[in-house]
């Protein structure tokens, strides 16, 4: 089968088309990256030092307004940082100490102390942040909320026995 020779006109059409498409993609990339979210250092989104392990009694929930999370210490001593944003529609979920649970004011989603959903419409447990404990100091990385389908014992972080 003899190949049809490409005419100069066809070649130029394709070349122009490809160059134009490439330029459009590049311009699109520039626009997208120009408008992409900007992270401000030192604000919500960085690593936040919560305090010494001893300052959080077992079975306590401490709100961190700047960091937008609750530092939860479970009755067994395990630490958990819960993002306060409701997993339903993003309202700020307050801790209700009398009931011992989080109740969202927007659509009445209810969460256990460890973030587990008790009452829909929230589709999944409260997101958590990574907690690290070094030399008895609790640090929370608010950079990336960790989404989870179920709560699990492995979410909890324990202080070293020595400290």
């Amino acid at each position: 089968m003899a190949e049809k020779p490409v005419s100069r006109r066809d070649f130029l059409k394709v070349a122009w088309g490809a160059a134009g498409a490439l330029a459009l993609v590049e311009a699109g990339g520039v626009v997208l990256s120009f408008f992409s979210p900007r992270v401000v250092e030192g604000e919500f989104g960085g690593i936040i030092e919560a305090g010494a392990v001893e300052s959080f009694p077992a079975g306590s929930v401490t709100p961190f307004t700047q960091g937008r999370f609750y530092l939860v210490r479970m009755p067994d001593g395990g630490f958990l940082a819960l993002y306060r944003k409701c997993t339903h529609l993003g309202c700020a979920v307050p801790w209700n100490p009398a009931e011992g649970r989080f109740v969202c004011p927007c659509h009445a989603s209810t969460f256990e102390m460890d973030g587990q959903v008790i009452n829909a419409p929230a589709p999944r447990p409260l997101d958590r942040f990574a907690v690290t404990i070094v030399d008895g100091i609790v640090r929370v990385d608010t950079g990336l909320p960790i989404q989870r389908d179920h709560t699990s014992a492995s979410d909890l972080v324990y202080a070293e026995a020595a400290s």
Partner: protein, 467 residues
């Protein structure tokens, strides 16, 4: 030398005037009137002549023109507000307070902008209904119907982005809740949301993003597409109103449809209506202030936290369906149905007749009544009796609270369609209209329930608890 021979010295004043306005004013005859319309930048969006029956006010209700008037009012007041407002979390709320207490007529200009914006959502929606019920979307007007839907979406986008700018509690949490709807779009939702907000939560970046969209991107798009929309109306002409028996409404004994010049017949009507409506909006804005709550506080969600009123129908759906269905699938189905609507078969003899036919009117009325009864019943049923996820704990909620109820509703709708078609021996066109009326009424009822009958924690309030 001919110029030496010119006997008439040119009048400079006359020359300057004619360089601006080329046609004689006021025009001497119909020919002159048509020429003025054709040669005028603004007026030439109109045809030079229009069919006389289309001028009847109760046919169009002036809704398209009213929408355009509101866009103009919004542009003027909006540009004024730009001079006294800075889109930054530190200053925005202070600027609002200063606007209302220190700036001369600041409260009035804000009220005009606020109420015009809200009214525009209503008017654009009513305009859509009018065009649907008089069959004004059929060939050759299909694409203009699509342009209209794009305009409606732009209007809602403009409203939503503007909602944030006062930076009060209402603004902050309505936008938080509203933008969270996006994150339920599979795969790209979360990315889309954080792109729009400029971060994980509503903050300083969101305010500048929304400001840019609200004062530049959306108005420019709106202006361009509105011009296109009106120009298309000129090209396609208006549908001519017909009576139930098929005769032209407003023509003597179904004879030749009389055409009259746009100037003055249409233009004068437009000006009078615009003047009356401007007066009405002005009066309303003098009496009723736009709301302003406490400054935005990201630490404290108010209870209940509601989205803007035009999203309350969606928020109400969200209380009954899995979020993917309430926020994405059901609205997308509705929008998709609106887009393919003009490409469906349509009985052209029904064009220009309100609600298609006598049968069509009865079926539409029945659909309104059906929705008025069924929707509150379904809401009550879901609130107090039916708990699908609880009854089917082994199924994921996306099935038990998504596919399952949606399939049930779809079956009900198909049953309704079939029954109406049989009982009334109606055409597909009349039956489809009846389904459309049913769904629109259902959406309106849901919106009313969301706005008026949802209290603390979005709990349902029964009518006697509201008062």
């Amino acid at each position: 030398m001919s110029d030496e021979l010119d006997p008439r010295p040119e009048d400079l004043k006359q020359r300057v005037w004619e360089s601006i306005q080329r046609d004689e004013l006021p025009p001497r005859d119909d020919r002159g009137r048509m020429r003025v319309v054709m040669n005028n930048l603004v007026l030439h969006l109109h045809p030079s002549k229009v069919a006389k029956p289309t001028l009847k006010f109760t046919y169009t209700w002036g809704l398209g023109g009213l929408a355009l008037l509101l866009v103009l009012l919004l542009a003027i007041t909006g540009v004024m507000l730009m001079f006294v407002y800075t889109p930054s979390p530190e200053t925005a709320y202070q600027d609002m307070l200063r606007l209302q207490t220190e700036v001369w007529f600041g409260q009035l200009i804000r009220n005009l902008h606020h109420w015009s914006g809200n009214l525009l959502v209503v008017v654009a929606f009513l305009h859509l209904l009018r065009v649907f019920f008089t069959g004004g979307f059929r060939t050759p007007r299909e694409f203009n119907w699509i342009l209209g839907i794009i305009l409606l979406l732009l209007v809602i986008g403009a409203n939503f982005t503007g909602y944030l700018l006062p930076w009060d509690q209402l603004a902050y949490w309505a936008v938080t809740v509203g933008s969270s709807l996006l994150s339920y779009i599979p795969l790209i939702g979360e990315g889309l949301r954080s792109f729009l907000l400029g971060g994980p939560e509503v903050g300083a970046a969101t305010l500048t993003n929304f400001y840019g969209l609200h004062v530049a991107i959306i108005p420019l798009a709106l202006m361009g597409i509105v011009s296109f929309h009106i120009w298309r109306v000129r090209k396609d002409t208006l549908t001519v109103p017909h009576k139930l028996d098929g005769t032209v409404d407003g023509a003597p004994d179904g004879g030749q449809i009389e055409k009259v010049t746009t100037l003055p017949h249409l233009v004068s009507r437009e000006l009078v209506f615009a003047l009356v409506m401007t007066g009405a909006i002005l009066l309303w804005s003098l009496w009723v202030n736009a709301p302003l709550e406490a400054a935005a506080n990201p630490d404290h969600s108010p209870n209940p936290a509601k989205a803007a009123w035009y999203f309350m129908g969606l928020q109400e759906l969200l209380l009954h369906f899995h979020p993917v269905f309430g926020a994405i699938i059901i609205p997308a189905l509705g929008l998709g149905a609106l887009v393919i609507l003009p490409y469906q078969h349509f009985d052209l003899s029904a064009e220009g007749i309100w609600f298609r036919s006598r049968k069509g009117r009865r079926m539409a009325l029945l659909a309104v009544l059906a929705a008025l009864v069924a929707v509150p019943l379904l809401v009550l049923l879901d609130e107090y009796v039916l708990d699908l996820p609880g009854m089917l704990p082994s199924l994921p909620t996306i099935i038990s609270n998504g596919w399952l109820p949606l399939a049930a509703l779809a079956l009900l709708l198909i049953g309704y369609y079939d029954m109406m078609k049989r009982v009334f021996k109606a055409t597909a066109c009349e039956t489809r209209q009846s389904v459309f009326v049913l769904l629109v009424t259902a959406f309106i009822v849901l919106t009313i329930i969301g706005v008026a009958f949802r209290g603390e924690g979005m709990a349902l309030m029964l009518p006697w608890e509201v008062l």
